[in-house]
């Protein structure tokens, strides 16, 4: 009979062991995805390229109206809020500076990633989970095809490219909307807005923003694919659970990475 202390220690050890094993699995999984472009046959590479194009079409092209609408609202709202403060503090170019700081550095990649997660991440998780439940993933393995090569890699590349393209689109529209709002509210000349933009926006901002968008896209695809592929065969009730888990984990990833990058680069 073990003492309560020994039982607690044993339980704690089991939890740590399980967490470590999961971490090793995740690292092994990411390693497989990273290695996979170098293992593809020419035929598989062509197939993957076609899937990437389709993924970009579904994730980026089809999301343009939604992203455009959100960007328009966000750009206008930021300027509206900033203008009220600027008038109070007597700082003329503050709204445009704020627009750059908030939109480019934070909101652009963040909102784009959330839209990509909501539209495509959930679809990927559901598709992978349903493929696994119906034995399609297992069938691929039985024919010597790695599901990472056939399913995951094209989605990681596709979402990464899509998130970057959508972030460019979001930022451009949000700026346009913000500058239009500034002009309407405070009669700020267009030339002055563009000049402020040029002075405030640095190359670091642009690089960090697009790198962040690419990481968000790849991370969403990785998390959603992984979660979808880990459901059990012939267990359809696990499909919605997998989608929910994928969304929660992806959101934690997006906000976590965003905070870490902001702290590391701008703090």
């Amino acid at each position: 009979m073990r003492s309560p202390v020994a039982r607690r220690v044993s339980r704690g050890g089991a939890i740590v062991r399980a967490a470590a094993s999961r971490s090793v699995d995740q690292v092994e999984w990411i390693g497989r995805v990273v290695r996979s472009p170098f293992c593809l046959s020419p035929g598989a590479r062509r197939l993957a390229a076609r899937t990437v194009v389709n993924q970009v079409r579904f994730t980026a092209t089809d999301a343009l109206p939604l992203i455009g609408f959100i960007a328009f609202l966000v750009g206008g709202t930021v300027i509206l809020q900033a203008y009220a403060q600027a008038v109070r503090l007597g700082v003329g170019d503050m709204p445009v500076r704020l627009l750059v700081t908030i939109i480019v550095r934070e909101l652009g990649p963040l909102i784009t990633a959330l839209v990509v997660l909501g539209r495509s991440g959930t679809a990927i998780a559901a598709e992978m989970a349903s493929s696994t439940v119906h034995g399609e993933t297992e069938a691929l393995e039985a024919f010597g095809v790695d599901p990472v090569h056939a399913f995951v890699l094209p989605r990681v590349v596709g979402l990464s490219i899509s998130a970057m393209l959508l972030t460019i689109y979001f930022d451009t529209l949000a700026f346009a909307s913000g500058i239009a709002a500034a002009r309407a509210l405070a009669a700020v000349p267009l030339a002055l807005s563009l000049e402020s933009l040029r002075l405030v926006l640095s190359a670091t901002d642009v690089v960090v923003t697009f790198a962040k968008a690419a990481v968000f896209g790849a991370g969403i695809a990785l998390i959603c694919s992984r979660t979808g592929l880990t459901v059990r065969r012939s267990q359809p009730t696990e499909v919605p659970q997998a989608v929910t888990a994928a969304v929660v984990m992806s959101m934690l990833f997006i906000f976590g990475v965003s905070a870490v990058v902001t702290f590391a680069v701008y703090a």
Binding site: L40, S41, S130, G135, E136, L140, A142, F143, G144
Partner: protein, 217 residues
Amino acid sequence: MNAPAELDGLVLAAPGDEPVGPMTWRMPPGVWAVLLSSGCAAALVRACTGTQKPVRGRVLVLGIDPASCSRAERQRLNRRCTPWLLPPALLSNATIRSTIALPMRHDPAWRQDEVEQRVDEVLELCGITRWAWRRPADVPPPARTLASLARALGPRPELLVTDDFASRMDREQCASIVSMLRSSVPAVMIATAVPQRIGAAVDGVVDPLQYPVPEAL
């Protein structure tokens, strides 16, 4: 010469049931077809392709144990030994043609023009050319079963492992399938619970496993 397939004290987990086995058996080299009377056909097919680990014992396919080899070795083995899966588990978001072509496209040994040609051949062989550009959901179940067979024949395997197709077909259909397999594959391991339906059509060794108790041939 390696036996195409060899079971060595193999115990398999059957879903929702007691483990099946132990099974010890050797498929003689050079025979065309072997019938196994087994209540665990699906589990046996999975064990042969390395997608299910045995509870105990091992299975050797073309001299290799799929449960203990590396992922890369297993991929190479799965290109030499293909399964006829039932239910077919075809890719739901791809056409029948793409699904059949996929394993060959991922195999560096196949050129693109060879893949296209081979896919046309197996589609015609299985009589499902008219369904080639449809997705599985738009295809009747018998054609899906044949599409699964076409996918297994595509890579020109050295050994074809079949799930229990005989229990889904009558004697005439079984005879026609066996005749098609005879012209296409060097060795076939047929796991079936109703060997009497195809026994007459096979001129290879008919070798029922002693576990579980086979039906009368």
